[in-house]
């Protein structure tokens, strides 16, 4: 799993573990307007999903994690109308 920051986008790829929440948080604190692209993620740990729920960053991409896609991500404000 990796967290890469390219310009204004944070790419979350592979299986997100507990430890991955911290670099995502840092990247979002650095520049709160950043978009999180989870299209390359195949699994999302509770710690990552909790971070999304709490901080509500703009999220793009559909992860290969059907439970998260179906049930959790709809709960995260996608950021529409906040730009």
């Amino acid at each position: 799993m990796s967290v890469r920051v390219v310009g204004e986008t944070i790419f979350v790829e592979g299986i997100a573990q507990v430890a991955d929440a911290e670099p995502i948080l840092s990247a979002l604190l650095e520049a709160p307007g950043r978009t999180v692209d989870i299209g390359g993620a195949t699994g999302l740990h509770s710690a990552t999903l909790q971070l999304f729920l709490a901080l509500r960053p703009r999220i793009v991409g559909t992860p290969g994690d059907s439970f998260a896609s179906r049930w959790v991500l709809p709960l995260v404000d996608t950021g529409e109308g906040q730009e």
Binding site: V18, A21, A47
Partner: protein, 643 residues
């Protein structure tokens, strides 16, 4: 009397009785449950209106009373005392009996008025031992109440009962390596999910601790309470569960949505299924046409082949859809069971705690229809011979009320019905001596008979251990009736008993009856089909492993001597002596028996048609099946072939 109207009433009236009883069961546990009182009131109110159309004045009178009792409680003047609930249950039981009478005789008998008077009088003045009628707080926890309100839409659409869950993992969960949402993702049949911050609000971004778990997860699942307990067993202290009765909850949510249900005559579905079967056979006619076309024009043959493939896919999909239509939940079939248990127990002077679980399991209609009789027989038997009278139970340090549980579980292609009582159990020695006395076996055979095999003797025709003939199970019908009913459904029955502790019967029945998996077997030039569910295993052994025993043969399989019968001989042909022997192992009264055939053929799924004409008089023929190439096979009933 308009027959169609009566028929409709018989269905809807029983549905309403069952609805009301279900609500009363909730009230028995939680007398302040407003939703259940509302739902019970509505069911009784509608039922009263329905009986009013028919000459059922006594029923109308009783229901009017029940309605008033519920209405008073509904308007908050008094919660229902447990004695009142018990009387309401009795009133609905009586209404159910009257509905049965309407079906049987088209009218209520002369005593109905007196019965109604007694029920109503009994209720007019509250008995002195009644609990004080004051409002009892509902035991629905606040989180569940909020969830029910929030998820009213999901609850209204639910096809079955739901379980609400609230999982509050502690802050250290991530450190321990837990992935709470990963665990929640494993919950089957989730219909709603919400995640809240544990502290009420999420902390600001710069105060957020990414390593602390700070969420509460709530939702609904169609999984049962025990299933969820099992899944969450390692974090059980962080989990709350609450069962939700979807009907009651819907009333509370007042969504007013009505499920779209169409009642269709079962015979129409059968005709549809038969038509689909014929369509499948008609589609098979393409194969030889393609072969002929191949010789003339390969391009044309290819075109027909792809058209045929499309047709087969469509037929397959219709077949699956028709099978699904025939699946019915067992609930409606079994809804009379709790009432009958109460009646039988009262008649026998026994107290019993009856539970029925898993009745939402779906099985083919044929199985649902054939199941009730044998199950009721087992229930009667358990109440009569299993569960002891209260004084005997007290003497044995047991609770005065016996426990009788019927649990239904769907396992792959089978539905397993487990009936467990905590009664006296069955004494294999007593069974042996009764069997000797009845001439079912001699004393020498009895001493070599294992305990498990001895217990199975109760399923033999003519066996009954009842000391005195009681009105309940001593009606000249023994447990052999259960065995033959289960055989007819191509099921199996297992029995397990511990002396002094109770008896468990397990019925295993095929859940789908529309197509049956068949094994083709060959004897010389002839081919037959045998239903897979009659076959325990197939083995190939060298002929020298068959040893003569008496007038027949036997073979040692898995350290056990198994009698070997020759199918050709059984069917009236001559003994085949081909090498090696192909054995089909089946069970007769639970004991393995091998049947020798020449060869095993392919396995096919086919619809078994009931034998007609001359074949109808041959019990060894279960029916006919049509193979893919349009040929007709005789399907053998092994038990009958050997009988």
């Amino acid at each position: 009397m308009d027959d169609e109207l009566l028929e409709q009433f018989l269905i809807e009236g029983r549905d309403l009785v069952a609805d009301a009883q279900a609500q009363l069961r909730i009230l028995a546990l939680d007398s302040g449950n407003k939703a259940a009182i509302d739902a019970a009131f509505r069911a009784v109110h509608t039922l009263k209106g329905s009986v009013g159309i028919f000459p059922m004045t006594p029923a109308e009178r009783v229901l009017h009373f029940a309605e008033e009792v519920l209405d008073r409680s509904r308007k908050g003047t008094s919660a229902l005392a447990s004695a009142e609930i018990a009387r309401l249950v009795a009133m609905l039981d009586q209404t159910d009996r009257w509905i049965d009478e309407m079906e049987r005789a088209g009218a209520l008998n002369g005593s109905a008025k007196a019965v109604a008077d007694a029920l109503v009088e009994e209720n007019r003045s509250p008995a002195p031992d009644d609990e004080p009628t004051q409002s009892v707080p509902s035991t629905t926890p606040a989180w569940a109440a909020a969830l029910i309100e929030r998820e009213a839409g999901a609850i209204a659409q639910a096809q079955s009962a739901l379980t609400a869950f609230r999982y509050a993992p502690d802050r250290e969960a991530f450190f321990r390596g837990d992935d709470p949402l990963g665990l929640v993702a494993k919950i089957p049949d989730v219909t709603a999910l919400a995640i809240f911050p544990a502290e009420g609000t999420w902390p600001a971004a710069d105060e957020f601790d990414p390593f602390a778990c700070q969420m509460v997860i709530e939702g609904l699942s169609a999984a049962s309470l025990p299933d969820l307990q099992l899944l969450f067993r390692l974090v059980s202290d962080q989990l709350d569960l609450h069962p939700i009765d979807t009907i009651a909850a819907t009333v509370a949510g007042n969504t007013g949505e009505v499920a779209s249900v169409l009642r269709v005559d079962a015979a129409r579905i059968d005709r549809l299924a038969e038509g689909v079967g014929e369509l499948a056979i008609a589609a098979n006619a393409f194969a030889p046409i393609i072969a002929r076309a191949d010789a003339l024009d390969t391009e044309l043959a290819q075109a027909i082949r792809s058209a045929q493939a499309g047709l087969e896919r469509a037929v397959g999909s219709i077949q699956r859809a028709v099978s699904a239509v025939r699946l019915v939940p067992l609930g409606p079939t079994l809804r009379r069971l709790p009432r009958l248990v109460r009646e039988i127990a009262t008649e026998l002077g026994k107290a019993v705690d009856f539970t029925l679980t898993g009745e939402q399991a779906e099985v083919d209609k044929q199985i649902a229809d054939g199941l009730f009789e044998p199950l009721l027989h087992l229930v009667r038997n358990a109440l009569d011979h299993g569960i002891e009278a209260p004084e005997l139970r007290r003497a044995a340090n047991k609770a005065p009320a016996g426990k009788l549980d019927v649990a239904i579980v769907r396992q792959a292609d089978e539905v397993v019905i487990t009936l467990r009582d905590d009664g006296a159990g069955i004494d294999p020695d007593r069974i042996r001596s009764v069997a000797i006395a009845r001439g079912l076996l001699d004393s020498e055979a009895a001493t070599t008979l294992g305990d498990a095999a001895a217990l199975r003797l109760i399923f033999e025709p003519g066996f009954s251990t009842a000391e005195k003939v009681s009105g309940v199970s001593g009606r000249g019908v023994g447990m052999d009736a259960v065995q033959s009913a289960v055989d007819r459904l191509r099921g199996r029955i297992e029995i397990d008993s511990r002396l002094g502790e109770g008896t468990t019967f397990r019925l295993r029945l095929p859940a789908n009856a529309l197509t049956t998996r068949l094994l083709l077997v060959e004897i010389g030039p002839d081919r037959y089909a045998v239903p897979f569910d009659q076959i325990r295993e197939t083995v190939r052994v060298d002929s020298d492993r068959l040893v003569p025993v008496g007038t027949g043969w036997a073979c040692v399989l898995r350290d056990r001597t198994v009698p070997v019968l020759d199918l050709a001989t059984l069917l009236g042909g001559s003994n085949s002596a081909r090498l090696p022997a192909h054995l089909l192992v089946t069970a007769v009264s639970g004991e393995p028996v091998a049947v020798r055939v020449d060869r095993f053929g392919e396995r096919i799924d086919a619809m078994i048609r009931t034998p007609t004409g001359l074949l109808a008089n041959m019990p060894s023929v279960a029916g006919t099946a049509v193979t893919g190439d349009g040929g007709v096979l005789l399907v053998l009933d092994l038990a009958e072939v050997m009988g």
